[in-house]
């Protein structure tokens, strides 16, 4: 048997509940555009009557109104975690994409001022020198273009390095960001725990914390683990970045050759593989170094190709059934590292036969030793003889020694023997053209820089107006193993990688957006829905008020108008 006054309580519970509903609608609408806000929903439960039977207290009513058990956030934890993963991937690829795009811009190909064009100009200049070997103008132009080419390599290398430095400093800023966000999550965990234990409303704290974790996922690969009292732990590849109320700081260790992100407390490397930080690490440790070393390979190929065609002081006499007793006296001017040692002479002898080459080698070496003193810094090597071509080469004892050989006029013996050595207009051979071991330090050799007539265009045996060396050099641009071909391959590989990355980024962005949409679909505020809710709560509230009026008039009738019979 229900109480008449109980109906008043029922009406009151409905008024309360629907007011609560309206409040929640208001909060939802207010935060329709708040980042990270999760739509809230009021959980109503119909109150039933007492379930414990008692003497004389049977319940035959329909219920005791409504109560609000909770105001819950509508979120899907699975979608949240997927969103962290996808955001991490997007952040990482975005960094690679922008780095590759910068590298592309740096080389500016295909164009009329890229390295390709400068290489073409360089080889063409050799043709111009070949056409007019006695003209200082064409030689000066060759040196000018070679210098431009070298400094373009230098600039490209410097710019690549700048890109890398930029990535590392951005990484440093990211680490600081991540540390402060991790601390923020830890602080919120403390507040949430307090609020949760004391039963206070804390949905908005949860939203703030989840937003921070979501922002963390843009920076690095994070996953979450639910802790007690609605706290979460944030993990980087299984290691805690945030554990309940404690945040573990990261630091950027830039002391080694490659930057490493470490845990500040332990010094162990952190497994950062995604997000902006993962992307920047990839850019600084893999992408840029790869293009840097590719560029270095092209530069060193250029050095070895050009110097290889110029520098070696070698010569050979093709002989068949030779009697080299008539080869005459070998005579040449020798200079080592700029010091001139006058003329080296080897008196004619019979250099044929099995011991002929050894005799010549010994004689040459001894003559060179006499000229250079006891230092013995120039090494003569003689091979062949006894029917096969006699081959002589001269080199410094150290790889860095520069040996110069000048022909002594009218010396047929040397001219024939060192005939293929490239010599300049001054008849001096053995000069290198480029120096350098990387794109950064590629430069014109000091032996030709500022000295056009030193450029070796002629073969020692053919007179200084000869241009066979220059002709051969001009043809090196077409070499299948030369710098031009390497550079083409390099640029095309860059293009393919950049294109692939762009496509992958578009696909990843689409995926990320679709996950975000799903998340929004769960957690976002739809104004239409809120309007409908608002209308229903408002109407339910009005109806409850009307019900209260009805009960009131029922009681009025009972109290004021009954018991008047017989009055």
């Amino acid at each position: 048997m229900s109480s008449d006054f109980g109906a008043l309580q029922l009406a009151l519970s409905s008024l309360y509940a629907n007011r609560r509903g309206l409040d929640t609608v208001g909060q939802n609408i207010s935060n329709a555009n708040t980042a990270g806000y999760s739509r809230q929903r009021v959980d109503f439960v119909a109150n039933s009557g007492p379930k414990v039977p008692a003497t004389f207290a049977t319940w035959d009513g329909s219920g005791a109104g409504v109560s609000v058990t909770d105001v819950s956030r509508t979120r899907d934890l699975y979608l949240e975690i997927r969103s962290y993963i996808e955001h991490g991937a997007s952040g990482s690829m975005g960094q690679t994409k922008s780095a590759l795009s910068s590298v592309e811009g740096l080389f500016n190909e295909p164009s009329d001022n890229g390295i390709q064009k400068q290489l073409s100009d360089f080889w063409s200049s050799w043709d111009a020198v070949a056409n007019t070997p006695n003209d200082a103008g064409s030689r000066a132009q060759l040196l000018q273009r070679a210098d431009t080419l070298a400094s373009t390599f230098n600039t490209a290398s410097t710019n690549l390095d700048k890109l890398r430095t930029q990535a590392i400093s951005t990484l440093g800023a990211d680490v600081a960001d991540v540390n402060s966000m991790a601390q923020g999550v830890a602080n919120l965990n403390v507040e949430i725990q307090g609020a949760s234990v004391s039963g206070l409303a804390h949905n908005d704290l949860l939203d703030q914390r989840d937003l921070l974790v979501s922002k963390l996922s843009d920076h690095l690969n994070v996953t979450i683990r639910q802790g007690p009292n609605e706290t979460v732990d944030v993990l980087v590849n299984g290691t805690a970045l945030v554990s309940n109320d404690h945040a573990y700081a990261l630091k950027l260790d830039n002391s080694g050759a490659t930057p490493v992100v470490r845990w500040d407390a332990t010094g162990y490397p952190a497994s950062v593989s995604a997000g902006a930080m993962g992307g920047l690490l990839n850019v600084a440790n893999s992408v840029i170094p790869r293009y840097q070393s590719g560029l270095d390979a092209i530069a060193t190929n250029l050095v070895s190709t050009v110097n290889g065609a110029l520098t070696p002081i070698t010569g050979s006499i093709a002989t068949g059934g030779q009697d080299l007793s008539a080869a005459g006296t070998l005579q040449f001017g020798l200079a080592l590292n700029g010091t001139t040692y006058g003329n080296v002479s080897v008196t004619g002898a019979d250099w044929s036969g099995a011991t002929g080459a050894a005799t010549l080698q010994a004689a040459l070496q001894s003559a060179i030793n006499t000229a250079t003193g006891a230092t013995n810094a120039v090494v003569a090597t003689v091979t062949g003889g006894n029917g096969s071509p006699l081959h002589v080469s001269l080199a410094g004892a150290n790889a860095t020694d520069l040996v110069n050989v000048a022909t002594v006029p009218n010396n047929v013996g040397l001219a024939t023997l060192l005939g293929n050595t490239a010599v300049g207009l001054d008849g001096v051979g053995g000069r290198s053209f480029f120096t350098g071991t990387s794109a950064l330090n590629l430069a014109l050799s000091g032996q030709v820089s500022g000295n056009p007539s030193a450029v070796g265009a002629a073969m020692a045996s053919s007179g200084t107006n000869d241009s066979h060396v220059a002709l051969a050099m001009a043809g090196l641009g077409d070499s299948a193993t030369g710098p031009d071909q390497l550079y083409k391959t390099y640029i095309v590989a860059l293009g393919v990688e950049a294109q692939n990355t762009n496509q992958r980024v578009s696909m990843q962005d689409a995926t990320t957006q679709s996950v975000d949409s799903s998340r929004q679909s769960q957690a976002g505020v739809n104004l239409d829905e809120e309007m409908i809710n608002m209308t229903s709560f408002q109407q339910a509230y009005s109806a409850s008020a009307r019900y209260l009026t009805a009960i009131d008039s029922v009681l009025d009738a009972l109290i004021n108008r009954t018991g008047l019979v017989g009055r």
Partner: protein, 296 residues
């Protein structure tokens, strides 16, 4: 679409992304139109970049070949005109020699003829020292500025002056002194000196006949060289023509790879503009209203 809720924020974000994509396409097309290039960075089209880089390199090479050929043709042209003068002068000397053989001429007349032969010889030596860009054209690759001394001794060498004229192909553009004028003992200058001395010695008979034979040998050597020079000149001309053709071909290929197809790009741009405007118009209709506007 069972329970996939759409929220105002989702619509906003989607709309923004789509408008961005549309605007991005517009920008790409605008860039293609304003630069005239559809290939502005390697990732636009890596395969096209291979072609563009190769074509650019080959074009630069071909242009250099053309310059080399022009230079070679100049060299051969000067050689040709010099040799024609040499033939002319040598024929003059031959006529003088034939006059000298005549019995109607006395010792004084022969001495006068000898003087003329000497002058022709000097003229020929100076022709043999003809220079192109400060280099004696008959001196080979030697460093001196003359091919022959005043006395007619060869001072150069027999090195080849070579030009790169096509990929992997070279052509020697010089003819050397000895192959044109013969050696120092039996060559043209020695023969003329002998004629002069025989005329002065008033030898009308056998010596002058021998001299005529020697002179004819030398003359035919020069005319042979003249024919050789002419044929090389023709070869260069043909090569130049061929390289010119391939330059035209490569330029059009390069343009095909790199340049924007204007009519197509303009049409694409128009289409894209219409699409963008349509998207804007649709957005303005979709994004504004909600139930709020209709609940009174």
């Amino acid at each position: 679409m069972d329970n996939f809720r759409i929220t105002q924020q989702t619509i906003g974000q989607h709309t923004f992304t789509n408008l961005q994509q549309s605007l991005g396409k517009l920008q790409t097309l605008q860039q293609e139109l304003s630069s005239g290039k559809q290939l502005s960075k390697p990732s636009d089209n890596p395969q096209g970049t291979v072609a563009a880089l190769s074509l650019r390199g080959d074009l630069a090479r071909a242009n250099q070949y053309t310059r080399n050929i022009d230079d070679g043709m100049n060299w051969l042209g000067i050689t040709d005109s010099t040799l024609q003068k040499v033939v002319e002068q040598t024929q003059n000397a031959r006529n003088l020699l034939i006059q000298g053989q005549s019995g109607a001429i006395d010792a004084n007349g022969r001495a006068a003829l000898a003087t003329q032969v000497d002058q022709i010889r000097e003229g020929l030596i100076s022709l043999a020292n003809t220079q192109y860009l400060n280099r004696p054209i008959f001196g080979g690759t030697a460093s001196g500025s003359t091919a022959y001394s005043a006395s007619g001794t060869f001072q150069g060498n027999t090195g080849a002056v070579t030009r790169n004229v096509a990929p992997g192909a070279t052509l020697d553009v010089n003819v050397t002194g000895p192959s044109t004028f013969g050696d120092d003992t039996t060559g043209l200058f020695a023969a003329l000196a002998q004629i002069s001395s025989d005329l002065r010695a008033n030898n009308a008979g056998a010596p002058l006949s021998t001299d005529l034979g020697n002179l004819d040998t030398n003359l035919s050597r020069v005319t042979n060289q003249l024919a050789e020079v002419g044929s090389r000149y023709n070869r260069l001309q043909v090569t130049k023509q061929r390289i010119g053709d391939s330059i035209t071909q490569m330029t059009s290929s390069l343009s095909e790879v790199e340049d924007a197809d204007l009519p197509k790009t303009i049409v694409d741009l128009q289409t894209q503009e219409v699409a963008y405007q349509a998207a804007l118009a649709a957005t303005s209709k979709v994004i504004t209203p909600s139930l709020v506007d209709f609940l009174r």
